[in-house]
Every structure is written in C-alpha cells, then in structure tokens.
Symmetry: C2
Subunit: 428 residues, 2 copies
C-alpha cells in the first residue's frame, strides 16, 4: 500500500466565482477559461496569509480538465495556463479522468511533493462548459461514458445515475423524498457561499416560481413546502426516473487552484497550513452495465480504503466532507461507499439531518456540485478549497461550522464511477 | 533541480504495428483504440523475457492520449484501458500535453516509482486518428495550438512549423535539400521497421510513382534521384513553404506501453532491464508568435537541461536518439536544442550523414514519426520502445546498430513547442 514519504501541505487556495459566463449571454458577463483561471489565481493571491512570489516557488503545474477539446476546441491547456500565471518554462501537464480530473491532478501533485521530486507545485482545475448548447453539453459529458457500448444506445449521465438510483431504491427502499432532502440541504448550504453558481435555497426557488406566475398574471401555485414544490412535475420535470431537474448538478464555468508544498515551505505562506494525510484512487469498468452491483461504486471504496489506511484513521474520524453529488443519489451512495453510514442507510441519514450543517457529519457545506456548481475539471479542486476553509475556520459567514472541524475528506468521482479519488485533510 | 530518489527501470515494452485502421477502410482492417491497446499488450507479453503476471504486479496506469475526445468522442479513456488489461480497480489516469502526452505519462510513471509511492506501473499511450477525414484531423490537431489567437487565423500545424522552418532558413541558411535529407534518412530507417506505418524508402516511393504512371499508360517520369523526386511539386506538393507533403509526419492509429519498475523488481522480468537515468520536462508559450525566437524551442532546452543534469552526462554521451520529427525541420531543430550540434549546424549534420544509422549519432533509427508514424499519445512511448530495443541489441534485422549503444535519448514535443519531455536511457 503506497505511503507518503514526507508530509504534504496545502499552503493556499483560490477559486473564481463558479457560474455561467457564456459567450451567448450579456457581453460584460462573458468569460473564457483563461479569465476564470486568472480569477482563481487572483483569489489565491488575495487570500494568501503571507504574500509569497509564487513564480519563484512553484516548480510544476498539475492541471485537471475534462475536455477543453470538446468544450472549447482547445487541447494542450496546461502550458497555456502555466504561461498565464508566469510559470513558463516550467513543466505543466493536464490530467484527465472525466469529473475526477481535479482529484487526480491533486493526487499527482501530492505524490510529486511527497517524493521529494518537487518542493512546491500547483494543483489546479478549470472547465468552461457554458458556451455549448444543452445538447452539446450532454453530448460532451457523454464522452465520459463508454462511446461504443453506452452513449450510442441513449445512455446519457442522468440515465446512468438514474440506473444507480433505481437499483438503490429497489434494494434499500430509498425514496424520492430522500433524494429531495439532498438537494434541499445542499442548496441551503450553497445559499451561504458567495462563490456558488446558484446560491439559492429550494424555498427561494419556490418563492421565485410563485412571483413569476404572479407577474405573468397566472394563478399563483400554492405548495405546502419544498417537498411539494419538488414533487410538482410542472416546475421540476422528470429527466430520467427517479432523477428530476433539481436532482442534477449544474453546468458550470469555473476554475480553482491550490499551492501544494512541504511542511517547511508551507510556513512561508501561513501559520496554519492544512496537511493532506491521505490520498486514494481507484478505477472500475467504464460501462455501468459491466458491474455486478450498481448500488455502490467499487472505485470509491478502493480509493477510500487507500486514503484511510494512509491516514491511519477511519470514517468515524471524519468531521466534515465534500462528496461528489453530481446527482442527488450520488451523494447518498458516496456516504455509504465512504463508510460514513452502513450500506442502505445513507438516504435515512440525510433525511434525519445527520449530514446537515448542524448535524453530526456535515456533508457538502459548500453547496456541493448541486448548488455551488460542477465545472468538471475544477470540481475536485473546489472541494478542497471548501474543506481547507472549514478546517481553518475561514468559510464565509454562517457557512462556517460552529465546532471548527480538524479532519475533513473530499470524494471526487469520474463518469458513472469509472474513477474516483479520496483525499483526507487535517489541521493541527 | 529534481532528483530520482531511487533507480527506475524499464522491464518490458510492447507496441502494435502503427498504421491506418480506419473504419472507412476494408472491414477486416478496421481497429479501434481498444484493439490497438490490446495488440500492444500482447506484443509486450510476447516479448517479455520472463513471463510475469503483470496484473499482480502493476499498481497504476499512466496513459498518454491527446484527444480521444475529438478523435473518437471518447473521454475518460484511462479506466477503460486499465480494464482491458485486467487492472481494475487500480488507479488509472490520462495525461495530456498534445503530442508529448506519451512523454509526460512516462515522466509521471518515473516520478511515482522513483518516489517509492509505487513499485511497478505501466506508462502507455494510445491514439486513434484515422476515423476522421483529413479536414477533421487538421481541425483536431489544431486544438494543440492556441484556439483563440492561432487557429482562427488559419495557423494549422504545417503552417506553424513552416514558420519555424523559414526562420531557421533565414538565420542559418538551411535549405530545402537539407529538409529532404531528414525524410530520406527516416524512411530508409523505417523501411527496416516491421511496426512502421510506411516502411518504404523515398526511392521505393519514387519507383512506385513510376509504376503507377506506367500502369495508367502515362509517360513515365524520370527523376535523377530521390532529391529530384522530392523537388517535383506534382508528386510532393507544397503544404506550407518550405514544408511539402513528404516533410510531414503521418496520421496514425497506434498504441504502445512500458513496464516501469524498480531495479529489484525488474529482475523478475529480465536480466538486462534498461535504466531511466534522466527525465526532463519544460513548457513554453502556447502561441508560436509569443516567442522571441522561432529557430529553437525553449521547452526542449529546458527539458534537456534537466534530463542531462539528472543523468550527470551531456549531449556528447548520447549514442542513439529518437527525436520528435513531426516535420522534417523539427528534427533539425531538435538536434540543436538537445546540444548534439551547435545552433545552426543541425541541417548540415543530417546532410553529412552524421545522424544516419551508420553515422556518429544515429537519430530516429525507428523511422521516426515520419515513417514509423505519429499516433499522437503513443508517439512518445513508441520512441522509448525503439531506444529500449537498440540498447538491448533487439532492434529487428538491419535496423539494429552495429555498435550496440549503451546510452540513448528520447525527445518528445507537444504542439509547436508548448511542452517537451526528454528521457535518457542506459543499459549496463
């Protein structure tokens, strides 16, 4: 089982505001992946405790990106992103494993520093998705599934995760209401995140829908509560049973980056760097239909086992986690794969509020991919930004957990579970 | 300057026959990237000195691939390729830096093993290019250039390297005849490589053109020699001055893989593993027009400096090299960037036969990207396969150098020089 030969720390983090910066929207709102990457860099520099000239320190860029090729007709993104922040002619490379591209970029950065090969590197991620049509985005995301045996037969990602959803419902009795609970919780968290793409609670959305009806002179719909709102097919249409529109994460433009370094170097940046005590990665068949069981992800269990073993701790020690909620069912499955709850108990846990901000184990305090947004290659890095802030007591406003956690976990999945990374963070 | 904390060895290599396996060709000749990858695996197993069950040994897959997204509408390729060779659920990731995707996959594998994080991994590469039209391939390759400032203004890759060519001609007096020398030499080498896509000498091509004319009842063209043939625009049209059709490398489907491991583990596989004594990587501006000088590549000089320093040797110690001849001018520039020849002397060196198989420093004995083929993500790994064989005296037939070399180098470039890796190999 791999070990980290020396301690690895996160010295600083930065991210842009996740959002829709389409070139087809208002011109003043248009942003390219270059703009987003530079905003993440400025955010990192602005919030660095001690100002360090990183161009003198950083030796390599590990960049997570799913498919700038298909989204922007731009491959070879890493040297470009290195150039923009003054790293030329240092090594720069892109890492790709679909939605876990950010997670594997971080893992390679961790290995490189732990090994002593480099002392200081940047692990970053960027994705610019909103310049394509909805059909174009669906088509591009489908490239993360099997292009011979899945997509040509109509299996898009909502369909694949719906399949995981129905399997989980059939085996464990998971309900649509429990799926709603995930969305309600994550939007409630995201509403407190200034960098979230959709910082609105589901109740906000309900009120917005009522106001819209009023403005149009139509009858104002009356919903008993958020659950009734989410059950209403006229506002929350079915995408692939049991997943509705609000069970899906967002299509997002975004970028994020981390300074990964040694314990000694980290002191130049800050007095309280965050240590990465565990890193795990696993894979599985690319096709969902090739797996014997669809109620959990082998890649996630493999990654978690490696990360826990490396860290010398178990699921009970985790005090906060960001998990890959690309769909609401994915969060439930994740909390089981990570061992937070018994198999089949994840849905009950969210329903009972155990994973809420004031619960026993807060999950996705950032709002998750559901509310904060899911700019594929940047998502895994964005998760680290949130846990870094929670561990240092720096999450903005109400979002900061009252009992500041000292150990947190990030779980990032690629495709329908073909790849997964798990990282465990700790602060003294 | 990074160091390798422990020795790293190549224990076994495999590659498929590079070629055009288009789905639009004869059905019996059609191959997917999955087929090519499995052929590389079978080649590796067939030629492994001692048969080792690699599924029990290999801990991670580092996969080089430029753009299966655009070529095959297939992202998330690494777990799929891992699955095909029985590695699931082990970590698998894709690395991308345009045409140096194979080179950076190898470098990450080297770092992972040197660090002690893993003991045995696979560094591989695959690309399936021939299912697109010529226009589609040009369009896809252009994604390795700047998608905002280069391609929209008509700068395709022949155009970018033509720009390097004219700069080199203007500054150093390099001639079109000298460019022809590169092609003649590499096709002569490639004609001896059973895995080459176009195993023909330029003289073979000349004779073929004459026979074709004869068959059609047209006047048989008389060319004095290969140079006259290559000067004839009717058979070798201008693509972008000074680069003609036969100055360009091939569009290729192919795959290759290497077992990278520790000295101790390598003994299980073979008595004469090849050591990687140096690894270097550099970057440059993505856009060619942003660079102060276009007669050489900063990324290549940076990568070479790191690799030489790590190996504790210099250019004079290299006895054989595979360099990135995506265009004939690129080989000339490479031999200067690597310090084999003084700046401006590379063209003269090839003309004088110094880089021929029987010359002082044989370059591209495999046939290079020019004759062996250039399946982007696999090219950098394919280079290693050749040098591995030359160092072990295992190159097929006449291709094997008479004085078996003991130190060799591989130079792999991305885009117009936005990225580069250099690896130095040694055998006892």
């Amino acid at each position: 089982m791999p070990k980290l030969a020396r301690e690895v720390y996160i010295a600083a983090v930065g991210m842009c505001k996740f959002g829709n910066y389409s070139k087809y929207g208002p011109p003043e709102n248009m942003k390219t992946s270059r703009d987003l990457w530079l905003e993440a860099y400025i955010d990192l520099m602005d919030h660095m405790t001690n100002k360090v000239k990183i161009q003198e320190e950083v030796e390599c860029l590990f960049l997570g990106n799913f498919s700038s090729d298909l989204f922007e007709q731009q491959g070879h993104l890493a040297p470009l992103m290195a150039e923009l922040i003054g790293l030329t002619p240092k090594p720069a490379m892109r890492l790709e494993d679909a939605c876990v591209s950010g997670g594997i970029a971080l893992r390679q950065a961790v290995i490189a520093v732990a090994s002593g090969f480099y002392d200081t590197v940047i692990a970053g991620g960027v994705e610019k998705m909103c310049d394509l049509t909805t059909a174009g985005v669906t088509d591009t995301l489908a490239a993360a599934a099997d292009a011979i045996y899945e997509y040509p037969y109509g299996a898009t990602f909502p369909g694949l995760y719906a399949n995981i959803g129905t399997a989980h419902m059939a085996k464990y009795g998971t309900t649509e209401r429990q799926l709603h609970c995930v969305g309600i919780k994550n939007h409630e968290n995201g509403s407190l995140n200034p960098r979230a793409q959709m910082p609105m609670t589901i109740k906000d959305m309900m009120i917005k829908a009522q106001k819209k009806a009023e403005k149009r002179g139509k009858p104002i719909p009356e919903w008993e509560d958020e659950y009734a709102f989410l059950d209403d097919l006229s506002v929350n249409p079915m995408i692939a049973y049991p997943l509705r529109l609000y069970d899906c994460s967002l299509v997002t433009d975004g970028a994020a980056m981390l300074i990964i370094t040694t314990k000694e170097n980290a002191k130049k940046y800050t007095d309280n760097p965050v240590q990465i005590i565990g890193s795990g990665q696993g894979s599985d068949t690319l096709s969902l239909h090739s797996r014997p069981d669809r109620t959990g992800l082998l890649a996630a269990r493999t990654a978690a086992a490696e990360a826990y073993k490396m860290a010398g701790i178990g699921p009970k020690d985790i005090q906060v986690a960001e998990v890959h909620d690309c769909f609401t069912i994915a969060e439930i499955v994740a909390t089981e794969d990570l061992g937070f709850f018994e198999k089949g108990q994840g849905a009950k846990a969210v329903e009972e509020g155990i994973t809420a901000r004031d619960g026993q184990l807060p999950i996705n305090t950032s709002g998750g991919l559901k509310s904060k947004g899911h700019p594929i290659g940047a998502s895994g890095i964005g998760q680290i930004v949130e846990v870094f802030k929670q561990l240092r007591g720096e999450a903005e406003g109400e979002r900061q957990l009252k009992d500041r956690p000292s150990i947190g976990l990030c779980h990032n999945v690629g495709g329908s579970g073909g790849s997964c990374t798990v990282h465990i963070l700790k602060v003294d």
